[in-house]
């Protein structure tokens, strides 16, 4: 999955990644995969809130908000999250 380059969100308090193609994520599946790797994640039905080194929110439409002002940290956390958005090999 490829996202647009990260951009600072409008309120300048976080970085936002927007999918290149419209999508609708299976958040329950993403949540399960995160929890299986020990990530503390809250399932709010229309979004997931994952507690990594900074909080990351994943929306059903694939938008990801990373609560940091550090672009390098945002890129690193985006890479972590993207792993969980893919179906595991052999699934689906």
């Amino acid at each position: 999955m490829t996202f647009h380059a990260l951009q600072v969100c409008a309120s300048r308090g976080a970085y936002e990644a927007i999918p290149t193609e419209p999508m609708r994520l299976d958040l329950a599946g993403v949540c399960t995969r995160m929890q299986a790797e020990g990530i503390d994640v809250v399932d709010a039905r229309v979004m997931l809130i994952a507690r990594l080194e900074r909080e990351v929110t994943v929306g059903r439409d694939g938008r990801i908000l990373i609560k940091t002002n550090d672009v390098a940290q945002a890129e690193r956390l985006l890479a972590v999250i993207e792993r969980f958005l893919e179906l595991p090999p052999g699934a689906g």
Binding site: C9, G13, A44, M47, E55, K67
Partner: protein, 203 residues
């Protein structure tokens, strides 16, 4: 006084303090749907206004994130902002009653955002009994910002921060009370409020 960390609420508080009212402030802590910045901004707003008027304004901080999660999981997102505000009002009213306050106050100005249409204000505030004071109701954004700049709160309010992520993509701007009440039946209102108020922290 409901304090959000934004531009309007400190201006509203300023007007009420200037009139000589004894005020207490309530902040609905919206983490994890925001970050730490609203609370930091509010403590700075309060400090600035307390210094200006020479009196302490107690600040109650109530957890609102769990309420938002319950609403997201169980209710129609379209009316999420109205439901959210109904819980905020109720929680604030409970604090007000505990402190024997005689009114509730906000920085709302008519028509600025989805939750501030007349229809949505009516649906939101039907959840409480105390009178509601809105010192900014007829001002436009430029007027409010002008006052905020003159009293020194604007620079605090406009620091970077994360906006509320619980706001739906298309929030309802007109809501019927019947529809709102029906949605609200999906959650345990009293249990949510009890938990929220029990975890209030006074700063």
């Amino acid at each position: 006084m409901m304090m959000s960390g934004g531009i309007d609420s400190p201006v509203s508080l300023y007007y009420l303090l200037r009139q000589g009212h004894d005020m207490l402030a309530v902040h609905m802590d919206n983490r994890p749907f925001t970050d730490d910045t609203p609370l930091e901004k509010i403590t700075d707003h309060m400090s600035l206004l307390e210094t200006r008027f020479g009196r302490k304004v107690p600040l109650y901080v109530l957890p609102h994130g769990p309420t938002q999660i319950a609403l997201m999981r169980q209710t129609d997102r379209h009316v999420g902002c109205v439901l959210c505000r109904r819980f905020m009002w109720r929680a604030a009213e409970r604090i007000a009653e505990r402190e024997r306050a005689t009114f509730l106050a906000t920085g709302e100005a008519l028509g600025q955002v989805a939750s501030q249409t007349l229809s949505n204000m009516r649906s939101a505030t039907a959840s409480v009994r105390l009178p509601i004071v809105r010192p900014l109701i007829g001002l436009d954004k430029a007027e409010i910002e002008s006052v905020a700049k003159s009293i020194g709160t604007y620079v605090i309010s406009t620091r970077p921060g994360v906006c509320c992520q619980a706001v739906p993509d298309k929030p309802a701007t007109r809501s019927g009370l019947v529809q709102i009440l029906k949605e609200e039946e999906r959650v345990d209102v009293e249990a949510i409020l009890d938990d929220c108020v029990r975890r209030a922290v006074v700063m």
